[in-house]
């Protein structure tokens, strides 16, 4: 029978055994972050293109949320992170997660960002974003609600 599904096979570096895409993704994230020298992260380096990109993304999300177009904001957030995770641009995702401000974002948009990045849990920016989202939702709707809502996305 013809191949019925795209089936990328990745060989494990040490064993030569095929590894799953999920495993590969986690490895890629670790590798991508490991490539970055520690001094690079410690210095507040100005990276205008990325900052601009995140700023535009933030503006779009805020604009949608301000006029209660939450679903459009969710769609934009899913596209933004999905496209970058597919392309293996983990640093971009990490950077966006660190920079995104949650004050104007709807709770459902925060949930969607955490949901779509759940397979990139190793990103430190995600943990930072999770904490921000938790605090913001707790402030709006109470700590119990925030805990119940976000527990499965931690």
């Amino acid at each position: 029978m013809d191949a019925v599904i795209e089936k990328p096979v990745f060989r494990g570096a040490s064993t030569g055994e095929p590894v799953s895409r999920l495993t590969r993704t986690e490895q890629d994230i670790r590798a991508a972050l490991a490539e970055e020298p520690s001094w690079f992260r410690q210095i507040n380096v100005s990276l205008p293109p990325y900052e601009d990109e995140v700023a535009v993304f933030q503006q779009n999300l805020d604009a949608h949320c301000t006029v209660n177009r939450h679903r459009e904001a969710i769609a934009e957030a899913l596209d933004y992170f999905d496209d970058r995770l597919i392309a293996g641009h983990f640093r971009d995702c990490d950077r966006a997660l660190r920079q995104l401000q949650v004050a104007k974002l709807a709770s459902s948009v925060m949930v969607s960002i955490l949901g779509i990045t759940i397979r990139a849990k190793t990103l430190k920016g995600r943990a930072i974003f999770f904490e921000r989202a938790f605090q913001e939702i707790a402030r709006r709707k109470g700590k119990k609600y925030a805990s119940e809502l976000l527990a499965k996305y931690r």
Binding site: I5, R21, V111
Partner: protein, 250 residues
């Protein structure tokens, strides 16, 4: 050991009556606010399951694994299949449902170029790669309409069922339902379906999560749920469908 504990826990809760909330079962598509598992009667012994969701514009759409290599996302029509449909609305927060509704569109877009295989075998660890919609484990296996729903919910971080609690082998009713699918494929005279029927027939006795069980799981307050509670809810849904639409034609 984990399986045994999960089974005992599930059985106990089932015996104690901790089963579905049937106020969240509806036959009216208009009652689906954001998201539901749709159950469509297709014949006397079979049903079809998929995810019904509302777009931002308010249209009800239906994401479902319709057949071998056919994933569909279409406007929900009352006359789909026999027009005898039920909707099980999961008890999720609105934020979760908004995310899941948009995730439907995402999965479909990602799958347009890929072709999901149909298979009776179900690997409990199966899930979709959120970005591509492809399965991240057990590539060669595939899904049924109901295990597509299971994998979809699980991939979005909201698992419906605990597959570990399911019997390892299908019962006679399950096998009859599967045989019905294979017979229809062979009658279709479509070479691809006939070939696939031949390929998967040997797995007809493997574990089955039925469409009714998936819809039944949705009615539990706490998710994921186990085999006993999902099955009990599923049987009750089946009876309610008969009450609503009458006995299916032979």
């Amino acid at each position: 050991m984990n399986r045994l504990l999960a089974l005992v826990y599930d059985w106990l809760l089932c015996q104690l009556g901790v089963t579905g909330d049937f106020s969240r079962l509806t036959f009216d598509a208009n009652q689906v606010k954001l998201l539901a598992v749709a159950l469509l009667r297709t014949s006397r012994c079979t049903a079809h399951a998929g995810v019904a969701y509302r777009t931002a514009a308010g249209a009800l759409r239906f994401l479902h694994f319709a057949n071998h290599e056919v994933l569909r996302d279409e406007v929900f029509r009352e006359d789909l299949c026999l027009g005898e449909n039920a909707f099980a609305v999961p008890l999720l927060k609105e934020e979760d449902q908004d995310f899941l509704a948009e995730f439907c569109a995402r999965v479909y877009r990602a799958n347009q170029s890929g072709k999901l295989p149909y298979s009776f075998e179900f690997d409990p660890t199966l899930g979709f790669d959120r970005s591509t919609g492809l399965m991240v484990f057990n590539y060669d296996s595939g899904l049924t309409c109901s295990t597509f729903v299971v994998a979809w919910f699980r991939s979005a971080g909201n698992p419906l069922v605990q597959p570990i609690t399911w019997p390892r082998l299908a019962d006679p009713a399950d096998i009859a339902a599967r045989q019905y699918v294979l017979d229809r494929w062979r009658e279709s005279r479509k070479p691809k379906l006939i070939a696939r029927a031949d390929e998967i027939e040997s797995t007809i006795q493997t574990m089955r999560i039925s469409p009714e069980q998936v819809a039944g799981a949705c009615l539990q307050r706490n998710l994921p749920t186990g085999y006993y509670r999902a099955s009990k809810n599923g049987r009750q849904i089946h009876h309610r469908i008969i009450d609503q639409f009458g006995e299916p034609n032979p």
